[in-house]
């Protein structure tokens, strides 16, 4: 895929905040797939990038459904070379559209669902979603969210779909590789992308990619895939303390030392659990 093609597939001039990770992610997706795609959205505020491929929008609550319909129509028409993408934010995917997403997965609709996770309802001004992390400030959790981030990836795994992956923008080759792999698989594919939001996470706009990198380096966000139930960790960085990820973000400014320790313990246990699963098949007896 030549550079010119990416510049032709996504144009500047969108209304996302300066430093928004959404358009970076969408660029990488289009770089992976090229022009033979149809997008269903809207995909949260990061989905507002100016794409020159066909896009169809319904309500942000209709997560995956329109894409399933498009895929069905393409199948009836015999158009097998077009990839159908379903974009949704974390609020759409994990809250209001959760049932729809689950049904799409259960039906094994031939689409790639991309959860553009900026960990909150950011378009409406930073409200908490099920994907907002523990203790994060939002306008509806001003003293910090008291519940943990819902593990959508594992929930999707137990829908027995052929391919699931996590990704983030700071690891572009990892991201592009996963999207390409998903496009080559029939059935329901789920890619969960961590997209740091300078406006909602309260950090300067130039640090978006850095925060995304720190998420993986501190194991606050792990990059792995689940292919036919088999787990494979795709990035194993030398770990940094999670404090380095939390400190630059204003939404964690109120955290005290015990909070950071609690989060570190959680991050450690999640990594251990993932490491034990690395190379194993989730769907088989453990």
């Amino acid at each position: 895929m030549s550079k010119e093609d990416v510049h032709a597939l996504q144009l500047p001039g969108h209304l996302c905040c300066p430093g928004c990770a959404g358009p970076i992610g969408s660029k990488l997706i289009l770089k992976a797939l090229g022009r033979r795609v149809i997008c269903f959205g809207p995909g949260g505020c990061g989905g507002m990038a100016v794409k020159t491929v066909p896009c169809f929008t319904l309500h942000f609550s209709g997560v995956g459904t329109g894409a399933g319909g498009i895929a069905a129509a393409l199948e009836m028409k015999g158009k097998t070379d077009i990839t159908v993408l379903s974009f949704a934010g974390d609020g759409g995917t994990s809250d209001i559209g959760f049932g729809k997403l689950s049904a799409c997965a259960e039906r094994n609709d031939n689409i790639i669902h991309l959860c553009c996770d900026n960990e909150g309802y950011m378009m409406t001004g930073i409200q908490k979603s099920s994907a907002t992390p523990y203790k994060a400030w939002t306008t509806t959790t001003p003293t910090g969210k008291v519940t943990w981030k819902k593990d959508l990836v594992m929930i999707m795994a137990y829908h027995y779909v052929p391919y699931i992956a996590t990704a983030t923008i700071a690891y572009p080759e990892d991201f592009v590789g996963k999207v390409k792999k998903a496009a080559g698989i029939q059935g329901f594919k789920y890619i969960h992308i961590l997209q740091p939001c300078p406006t909602g996470w309260r950090f300067p706009s130039e640090q978006t990619v850095e925060i995304s990198r720190l998420a993986v380096q501190t194991r606050a966000w792990n990059l792995y895939e689940i292919e036919e139930g088999t787990v494979r960790i795709t990035q194993k960085p030398k770990p940094k303390p999670v404090k380095e990820y939390l400190a630059p973000q204003g939404r964690f400014r109120h955290l005290a030392e015990p909070d950071v320790e609690e989060i570190q313990a959680f991050v450690d246990s999640q990594w251990t659990r993932l490491e034990r699963l690395d190379g194993r098949n989730l769907w088989e007896a453990q």
Partner: protein
Amino acid sequence: MEKVQIKRFSRPRTWKELPIETAGSSINQLGGSGGQVVKTGDWRAFRPAVDADKCVQCGMCETFCPENAITIKEEGVAVDYDYCKGCGICVHECRVNAISMVKEVV
């Protein structure tokens, strides 16, 4: 870009001029933005300035620019200042510190 047609209007369009397929969604019209492209260059307070001597053309700035406003050309890094919002990601990600933020002159 033969797959994209450009139309210019200096005034809002009448009900007869609006294509019916673009009502409420973005079919046949640039996805996500409702078809409108806004010159976001006037958002910025700082602009990135590239030192061509230091630049090694690694492409990191082009990969990570959220506006897709950076293109690596043969002659070097080209920034489309009509759209650059001055977010500073290119400056932060440049491995050789070849880009710096300069105050925008009004």
